[in-house]
């Protein structure tokens, strides 16, 4: 699959016309990809771009107008054929701020009332983790299509319940793992599948920051609501809020879920009353003896965040979008020299000469996976896919499996750290 700059969506609210044009070109690319069997969730993007007729319009209700919710609002406003019909948040300031951004949207403090609103096609759930399952289940019961932010749910049982509810619903379900729609990660997958790095022998991923991971609290009574990520009652901290992204990619690239995992975590720096670990270290074991090594901490940011897919012929770094060959091709003259030595020839190689050219530094600094960094990390495309799937009335293939694998994975890791023992993949888990 080739990407070029013409495929990059324009930034800003510069009009849905550009966006529509972009999606049209994308549809052609998606349709021609040899990888589609492994990217079933791209199928909705192959649909013809929508027009402006009311019949084409998809009406979405968003629950949770915090950080991520607001990014979704920005992207939804640019997605052709989407109407943000309703906004819901039980925190009044966030609700009012969101309503001010979206003309004509109806506001709700209780998501159940929003689900009763006539004419709503689907919901987008961007609430704290512990609310994902109840909201997904209620939305399916109300006959709505569901887009749920990652991680899927707070417990493995809830993951199973969502999968079960989805199976009977004939509704669209999508999870907010945007890397599934990132051109960089798609190119990375292509290189893995065509053998560029050889067999995957290990994946190493890490997410490092250096801050207290707190959001400002206007009033101490709001601490737990605003900083829900820090409290075990609402979240599994670094695992569900960060690790789930890279575990999703690992499962996707290895085309499997882990067999088991073991890890350690602690609060060794930010001892401020939080209940979730500020550093985690885990190993996930996959079939065929491949391991995924993951760590995350919020007291050092030097290495940033990255997922490194390693094989005997090369390394792919997904976040920086680079490929590092284990054996970069030598310069042409050097190659001739080596070939001569290897075949036992003593031969003059026309190799020397004045050079003025800073040639091919890319070999040592890694080759970019896509030529122009796409403007979208997938956060925008995933919404276009969701809207198209609703319009087509067709569930997105493969999506629930990705959501469950990643969601269960991070909960296994959390359980292993809390119980200080190896945790196996839940037997009998069914997508």
């Amino acid at each position: 699959m080739d990407y070029d700059s013409s495929l990059s969506p324009g930034s800003g609210d510069s009009g849905r016309a550009h966006r529509r044009e972009f999606l049209k070109r994308l549809a052609a690319v998606a349709g021609s990809s040899t990888l589609l069997a492994e990217l079933p969730w791209w199928a909705p993007l192959r649909a013809a771009p929508v027009g402006d007729s009311p019949a084409d319009r998809v009406r979405i209700g968003l629950v949770g107008a915090g950080d991520r919710g607001n990014l979704h609002i920005t992207n939804l406003l640019r997605t052709p054929g989407v109407e943000i019909a309703a906004l819901c948040d039980d925190y009044e300031p966030h609700l009012q701020a969101a309503l001010a951004r979206v003309k004509g949207a109806k506001g709700f403090a209780d998501y159940r009332q929003m689900l009763d609103m006539p004419g709503l096609d689907g919901v987008l759930i961007a609430t704290p983790l512990y609310l994902h399952a109840p909201m997904c289940l209620d939305a399916f019961s109300a006959g709505k299509h569901v887009f749920c932010e990652k991680s899927l749910a707070y417990t493995i049982e809830e993951c199973q319940a969502i999968a079960d509810a989805y199976r009977g619903s004939k509704k669209v379900f999508q999870i907010g793992h945007q890397r599934m729609f990132s051109p960089v990660f798609l190119r990375a997958l292509e290189l893995v599948r065509n053998g560029t790095i050889g067999q995957i022998t290990q994946i190493r991923a890490y997410w490092h920051r250096n801050n207290n991971w707190r959001r400002p609290v206007p009033n101490p009574s709001l601490e737990r609501r605003i900083n829900w990520r820090l409290y075990r009652e609402y979240s599994c901290g670094l695992m569900t809020e960060l690790a789930s992204h890279h575990m999703q990619v690992a499962n996707w690239f290895l085309d499997a879920h882990p067999v088991s995992c073991a890890g350690y975590g602690s609060i060794n720096y930010w001892k401020d009353g939080r209940e979730v670990y500020d550093n985690v270290n885990l190993v996930y074991q996959y079939p065929n003896g491949t391991n995924v090594v993951y760590d995350s901490l919020i007291s050092n940011r030097y290495y940033g965040f990255e997922i490194q897919v390693m094989g005997p012929k090369g390394t792919i770094e997904g976040e920086s979008g680079k490929l590092y060959a284990e054996n970069p091709p030598p310069a042409p003259g050097i190659l001739q020299l080596i070939n001569g030595i290897e075949s036992g020839f003593f031969d003059t190689v026309p190799i020397g000469g004045a050079s003025w050219v800073p040639d091919l530094k890319k070999d040592t600094k890694g080759q970019p996976l896509v030529q122009d960094e796409p403007a979208d990390d997938g956060s925008s495309l995933e919404l276009a896919a969701y809207a198209n799937a609703i319009r087509l009335g067709e569930p997105i293939p493969g999506m629930m499996e990705q959501a469950c694998r990643a969601g269960v994975c991070v909960l296994m890791g959390e359980a292993s750290m809390e119980q200080q023992k190896e945790i196996a993949w839940p037997e009998g888990f069914r997508v």
């Binding site: 030598p330 190799i351 004045a354 050079s355 070999d363």
Partner: protein, 301 residues
């Protein structure tokens, strides 16, 4: 050094070779940091920023490099000079716009060049520029120096055969090719890279080529393929390459530019101060169709 480095090690097991290659890379990067005028945090940038105003004491190794450069400036009668950056920069700026600098501009830039204006205080080990605007550029020295140091380090670790190359314009070999008495290195015709203009037989020796070119050999953006004659302050004429072989990587590097800017009649005398040098100058004459290489001058062959 803004180019690719290649190392070919022979008769060494792969594991050991990988270890040597990593060590070589670390070594070269350390030298690059020290000698690069483009590394804003490096000691040379530091010196270039401040030595016009106050005396600067560079790190010991850089100080020793500057003393070496002075020695070669003297031994080449001024043909090798690390202070030409202002005038080099002036020509590049103009030629990239398709213009020539005015005589006045050239004179102004020349007033900011010349090793004689670089004051090295040997007692204090400090450097001071006589004028503001002066700037040191180790571009025509660094690769040879780094290769010479690396070759010594590899020898000390027991390496007997190796081929080391910076962008194939600066090459150092250890020992000989595994199937012959030397490493045969052909100078490529820059317009027909598969053709050899002249072949050097290198044994524990270095080869460096400098020259002028009408274009980038890789077919990319037009680079600045000019060599400035410090005596005239003007680029040398025509398209030519000077290739110099020497037991010393530094001398090969220094002489490839020094000989190029020295008139052919004076080269013999310049080289009387050096030993075991061989050199070839290739000049490309344009006819209607192409540029044909011609060896116009050679020495020690």
């Amino acid at each position: 050094m803004n180019t690719r480095f290649s190392i070919v090690l022979v008769d060494i097991d792969t594991d050991k070779a990988e270890e040597l290659a990593v060590a070589a890379e670390n070594d070269l990067r350390a030298h690059e940091r020290m000698m690069s005028r483009f590394d804003a945090q490096g000691p040379l940038s530091d010196l270039n920023r401040s030595a016009g105003h106050i005396a600067i004491q560079p790190p010991q190794e850089l100080w020793e490099i500057l003393l070496l450069c002075r020695e070669y400036w003297r031994r080449t009668h001024g043909a090798f000079d690390i202070t030409l950056w202002p005038i080099h920069h002036l020509w590049r700026e103009h030629l990239e716009r398709g213009e020539e600098p005015s005589g006045e501009d050239i004179d102004h830039a020349r007033a900011q060049t010349g090793f004689a204006r670089l004051h090295l205080d040997e007692a204090a080990q400090t450097v001071r520029f006589e004028r503001e605007g002066m700037s040191i550029d180790l571009g025509g020295f660094g690769k040879g120096y780094a290769l010479e140091r690396l070759a010594a380090s590899l020898r000390a670790q027991g390496v007997e055969r190796a081929f080391l190359s910076f962008g194939e314009s600066s090459i150092t070999v250890l020992g000989s090719h595994p199937y012959g008495p030397a490493w045969p290195v052909g100078i490529a015709n820059m317009f027909q890279p598969a053709q050899t203009v002249h072949a050097f037989q290198l044994h524990n020796a270095s080869l460096s080529s400098s020259g002028t070119a009408p274009f980038n050999r890789m077919g990319g953006q037009r680079p600045f393929g000019q060599i400035i004659d410090p005596r005239s302050g003007r680029p040398i004429e025509g398209y030519r390459t000077m290739s110099v072989a020497s037991p010393s990587g530094i001398e090969a590097e220094v002489l490839s530019t020094a000989l190029l800017v020295t008139p052919a009649r004076d080269r013999q005398q310049l080289l009387s101060g050096f030993s075991c040098i061989s050199a070839v100058e290739t000049v490309y004459h344009s006819d209607a169709e192409d540029f044909a290489p011609n060896i116009e001058w050679k020495y020690g062959l």
